[in-house]
Amino acid sequence: MTHRLDRTLRVAGLTRVEGEGAMRVQVSDGRVTDVQLAIYEPPRFFEALLRGRGYLEAPDITARVCGICPVAYQVAACRAVEDACGVTVPEDIGVLRRLLCCGEWISSHALHIYLLHAPDFLGYDGVVEMAYHHRSVVERGLALKKAGNAILDLLGGRPIHPVNVRVGGFYRPPTRADLTPLAETLRRARDDALSTVRWVAGFDFPEFAHDHELLALVEPGRYTMDGGTPHTDRGLTFPVRAFERHIIEDQVPHSTALHAHLAGRGRYLTGPTARYALGHRWLSPLAREAAVAAGLRYDCRNPFRSIVVRAVETLHAVDEALGLIAGYRPPRTPAVPVPPPGRAAVGYGAIEAPRGVLFHRYALSPDGTITAARIVPPTAQNQPSIEDDLRRFVAARLDLDDVQLTRECERAIRNYDPCISCATHFLDLTVERVGRRRRA
């Protein structure tokens, strides 16, 4: 219990998030006056180093933005480059891309659910400590994660920075026989995913609700991973090519990082809970049933319960992968030809990465040299909403002591599975600011 009116909560190195960041919450006169989710990873200048590179290099280069969701980067880059060149890949190649995305969703969500997030609910510092008392549960999580990686291994050659994806399609698509053992693995994974939904549904969730506008790609009839059109839960919709007119990144006075907002509307949220709100009716029957049994309704506005949504999405991705494998016919051609545009051209691509909408734009010269690039990753978009949650979450819990409150803040950040490695390309002043703070 504490009654101090002025306090500063700091976490110099956030743990169990992807990449490195810091948090600072300032309380003055008993009011929360400042909240910062600081990103101090050094910038890597992807948009700059893409200039002058060949258009066919975009998938392999941008995969290196993020080791957690390289497939999302590869597929988004392919779509944007193909758009610039006026090529649409046939459905049989689209199917394989979706299967690859399923692998990444399963693997990335299992990583977050079991290794990064669940320890918060059960009171452990990490998965290793959790495994002392819950060995079989942790083993189930690792098996589920491995099943996702098995898809990436088979289709991509390796789970991190797969080698088999190219603009226009694949280097070597699998045969039907190649996929048979994978289906066996995924049938076991379906049971594990179902058990996961039931397991996380039983956790204790703090009372909390946000009112962020929710943004996701929507493709009627399908719980989309690799296509669709941006929609929000408040009725806004726009084509992918208009993304930068509607999503504005700018600076706000109290913060030193660029913040994204919807033009004329304000902060918003992308990711699993946004996808669920806008697309739950298109989940596989098994996933939809499990969601209802887990107590999810039409949307989920308690970010602590996002772990349940992630578990439902994992089950859906396993189901979807099994369906894609069952109906699989190798594509007529491994990759369709994508010649350089022959004129100056701009292409756009957006997909649902595990953490939300990922947008790519490339400008190409007639011979296919990249002249400009823009990447908007999910965590950059969610940062203002995460900070808003923190502000309101802390304000309601000022009676906790610093240690407890700081731990709760870290939990609140982890709800969003922030991928700071992805977000760093947009980092602005934080390096200087963190440096100053460290010397202080």
């Binding site: 998030v17 200048f45 700059a48 290196r64 080791g67 990686n149 050659g157 190219r166 980092l427 200087e432």
Partner: protein, 253 residues
Amino acid sequence: MAATATLAVWKFASCDGCQLSLLDCEDELLSIAGAVRIGYFLEASSTVVPGPYDVSLVEGSITTPSDVQRLWRMREQSRLLVAVGACATAGGIQALRNLADIAEFRALVYAKPEYLSTLDKSEPVSAHVPVDLELRGCPIDRRQLVDTLSALLAGRRPDLPTHSVCFECKARGTPCPLVTDGVPCLGPVTQAGCGAICPVYGRGCYGCFGPAAAANVAALVPRLAELGMSEVDIQRVFRTFNTAAPALAEAIR
């Protein structure tokens, strides 16, 4: 090394993929965690045990003045320092800035570039501190990582290949892309360790493990040109993930 050897995992400029490789060892993760004490691994645990550490895995390249200071503090606390991945061993993709005007790069990406603290170059760990061992690759190979940790825990030096990817293709029985299919391939000059994945998928090696010890890059270049690669394509393929590797920097100027 004692049964309670401590392990630390550190990150500099990188995509997180190489430390994720450790978490991707689903079958071995709990045994590894049982054999070592994880002293510092922010991505996996909130527990931080103060150094010194027996083994430090270092991911990422060195790109800011504060990175350099942090790296030195980390080196002082580490008995064995293992640089993991192309960023830590050769500057990574972000070392492309070494060939460009960094001021222009900053201005292209950031609205207020004057506030960024960035070195002119993205450099491997070994440019700043002594390194005991390097694991190549973008990303590193999981099996190599597990083998290396097992060897270090057993007190022996891991057996890391210095020959080219060609040996791995032969071992797997993969037909040579260069000879059989006329597909440009960097296998002859690239260090083994990945398991020669790309040729299995009908793709030439693109060199993500960096140059092999005795790589004769200059001899491969005319062959790549014969197979239809333009001068600019050849320059690009050598200047991607291991740009700051000395053997490449000299051959492709």
